[in-house]
Amino acid sequence: MTGTSEGAVLKGKRILIAKPGLDGHDVGAKVIALALRDAGAEVIYTGLRKTPDYIARIAVDEDVDAVGLSVLSGSHRDLVEQTRASLEAIEAGDIPIFLGGTIPAEDWPELYALGVKRIYTSEMPLGDVIASIAETLK
């Protein structure tokens, strides 16, 4: 899985891909994880059903540059807010959060207000998603 058109724009970056809550749809998370790896990033994937506290702790322990949350169950608002709070509680509120999944457009302003850097849905081309993450983490 190397040599894609994205190149290694994320070389040297460490990114945590996390599945908070009970949602079991992990294909999007895994596809993004593979694409991030293709783009040179070191990817840590949490697996399913993790609490916001657990995700925050792994983010700090692994010294990541960003946390990507994947939520398809409609619970994104609560889970983003809780993850943000968990990160802040251990003085890691500066780690940027990206969000992917089934996220209705009308929820986006509130999610940005809660501190999400960028929101991605399944129909966006992977190349665009990677470029956007790279641009944000520059």
């Binding site: 809550g21 949602d23 079991g24 749809h25 294909v27 895994k30 169950s73 209705p104 849905t121 129909e123």
Partner: protein, 536 residues
């Protein structure tokens, strides 16, 4: 398979189906074998009934459920009033994963993707005013399937409906949860025991109820091809057969109550032939491996979803056309029940308008198109017979790969199947991104004002979760808590003995208003949690 299949030289430019099968420009009799079987005859290539849909149309079963039991009960009555012939219950994630709604990890998810059913009193509300002896009910439930089934029986008992009259289905297919859907709870071994318990119990107590629906749908939606969807599903099916036999089950008896569940995607002929090939292959496998001869036990009965990941959020009204096309493929493939997804399903819980339009879509196909009037009308088409042969061959090849790896359980515990699906998903995504796979409105024929008109939006009642938790507290306060402890202890005791069927104990727990979370917690103490392999 016939020798002529191998003659075509592989050539990159040849059109292929999404599963990678090369298609001839024109198929002729030379391209396929001879299968003279009639509908209703082994190996059932042309369908399981001699008269197809003339005797009885497929069941139109729309998946619905959200918020509290009261909300869902109202939607069910609406759907039944509009001519739906079976109910399909969507459960929320806490119920599916075995947490009560007041559990910390559950709270953000209560009532979100389905209805919250934490105990028998919620089930009683859910089916209030609905006659369980007349309506078949399908529950999309896996990790806690045995518990929800126990509650359904307890609910029928309370309503005075004889258990033997219950019809419906619990999905109860844990293997694909580990691979694609993610609502596993216990490790593979005790999960297989619970499934065998529920199937063997159902065969005796609710003989008209389908205690398992072995599902390829989720693996497919996650990324696998049509061939892999069927191959993985049949491999899982054989794993259940082996488990049941090891528990003393009689394959000629329990096989009559195994059913299957798939997605229909957009490649029309591949989908039709997937069902023809899968139906034939299942009958052959049961005969080859277990010597089953009873026709009824060899019949491959299945339901489908038309929609899923073939639907798009961009230009959502296009989804109506997709669902109509897929419905025709399902009918021509001989499905026993069809769920047509609503056009807005790709991005929200369907509105009533969208849900009704989805049901109307299959009613138009059923009553106006005429395609259900003769059995297997595509049978004998050279292309259809060619693809049926080729897909069966490819399905066997994939199943052999799983066997060579060491079988389904090992492939799942190691994460081998999960990795394969993730790689397929990435491949599918790249093909869409590059335009190799055309998706109208997404990577072709796009408009600049995309996403603007999706019709009305559905709003979940934000108070639903709180009401669910309030009701749970009230149940805990008014039930006989000594009886709860007693039933939980009996359950735990029975779980110690692997040969004991746990179903009667779960039914007793349900009657005592023990919650889903309490039953799961008690079983976890004995069995532990599944350890997810998370390598990617």
């Amino acid at each position: 398979m016939t020798a002529s299949l191998k003659q075509a030289a592989p050539h990159e430019d040849l059109p292929r189906t999404p599963s990678g099968i090369e298609l001839p420009v024109v198929a002729t009799a030379k391209d396929h074998g001879v299968d003279d079987s009639l509908p209703g005859e082994y190996p059932f290539t042309r369908g399981i009934f001699p008269d197809g849909f003339r005797g009885r149309l497929w069941t139109m079963r729309q998946y619905a459920g959200f918020g509290s039991a009261e909300d869902s009960n109202e939607r069910y009555k609406f759907l039944l009033k509009h001519g739906q012939t079976g109910l399909s219950v969507a459960l929320d994630l806490p119920t599916q994963c075995g947490y009560d709604p007041d559990d910390g990890i559950a709270r953000p998810e209560v009532g979100k993707v389905g209805v919250s059913l934490s105990n028998l009193s919620e089930m009683e509300i859910l089916f209030d005013g609905i006659d369980l002896s007349k309506i078949s009910t399908s529950f999309t439930i896996n990790g806690t399937a045995a518990i929800i089934y126990a509650m359904y029986i307890a609910c029928a008992d309370k309503k005075g409906v004889p258990r033997a009259k219950l019809t419906g289905t619990i999905q109860n297919d844990i293997l694909k949860e580990y691979v694609a859907r993610g609502t596993w709870i216990f490790p593979v071994r005790p999960s297989m025991r619970l499934i065998a318990d529920s199937i063997l119990y159902a065969n005796d107590v609710t003989p008209r109820f389908n205690p398992i629906s072995i599902a390829g749908a989720h693996v497919r939606d996650a990324g696998s091809t049509a061939v892999e969807e069927m191959a993985y599903t049949l491999a899982n099916g054989l794993a259940y057969v082996d488990e049941l036999i090891s528990r003393g089950g009689d394959v000629a008896k329990f096989a009559k109550r195994l059913s299957f569940f798939f997605y229909v995607h957009m490649d029309f002929f591949e989908e039709v032939c997937k069902f023809r090939a899968g139906r034939r292959l299942w009958a052959r496998l049961l005969q080859e491996r277990y010597g089953v001869t009873d026709d009824k036990a060899l019949m491959f009965r299945f339901g489908v979803v038309c929609g899923g990941s073939s639907l798009t959020a961009a230009q959502p009204f296009n989804n109506v056309v997709r669902v109509a096309t897929e419905t025709m493929a399902a009918v021509l493939g001989g499905a026993q029940s069809i769920f047509t997804a609503a056009y807005d399903e790709a991005f929200q819980i369907p509105t009533e308008f969208a849900a009704e339009l989805a049901l109307r879509t299959q009613q138009v196909v059923a009553y106006e198109s005429g395609i259900a009037n003769s059995v297997d009308p595509l049978g004998g088409s050279h292309l259809v017979e060619f693809l049926t042969d080729r897909m069966e061959e490819e399905m066997r090849r994939v199943m052999d790969e799983i066997d060579a790896y060491g079988g389904v359980t090992k492939a799942i515990e190691d994460g081998w199947m999960q990795s394969r699906i993730a790689e397929r998903a990435l491949e599918r995504k790249k093909n869409v991104d590059s335009g190799k796979t055309v998706v109208v409105g997404v990577n072709a024929f796009t408009k600049s004002d995309e996403g603007a008109s999706t019709g009305e939006t559905f709003q979940l009642d934000p108070g639903a979760a709180k009401r669910v938790i309030d009701k749970l507290e009230a149940v805990r306060a008014r039930r006989n808590n000594a009886a709860v402890e007693r039933e939980l202890d009996r359950l735990a005791q029975a779980a110690e003995n692997d040969r004991e069927n746990l179903m009667p104990y779960l039914v007793d727990c349900a009657h005592a208003y023990v919650t889903v979370g309490e039953m799961v917690e008690r079983l976890k103490r004995r069995w532990g949690n599944f350890q997810e392999p998370i390598g990617i």
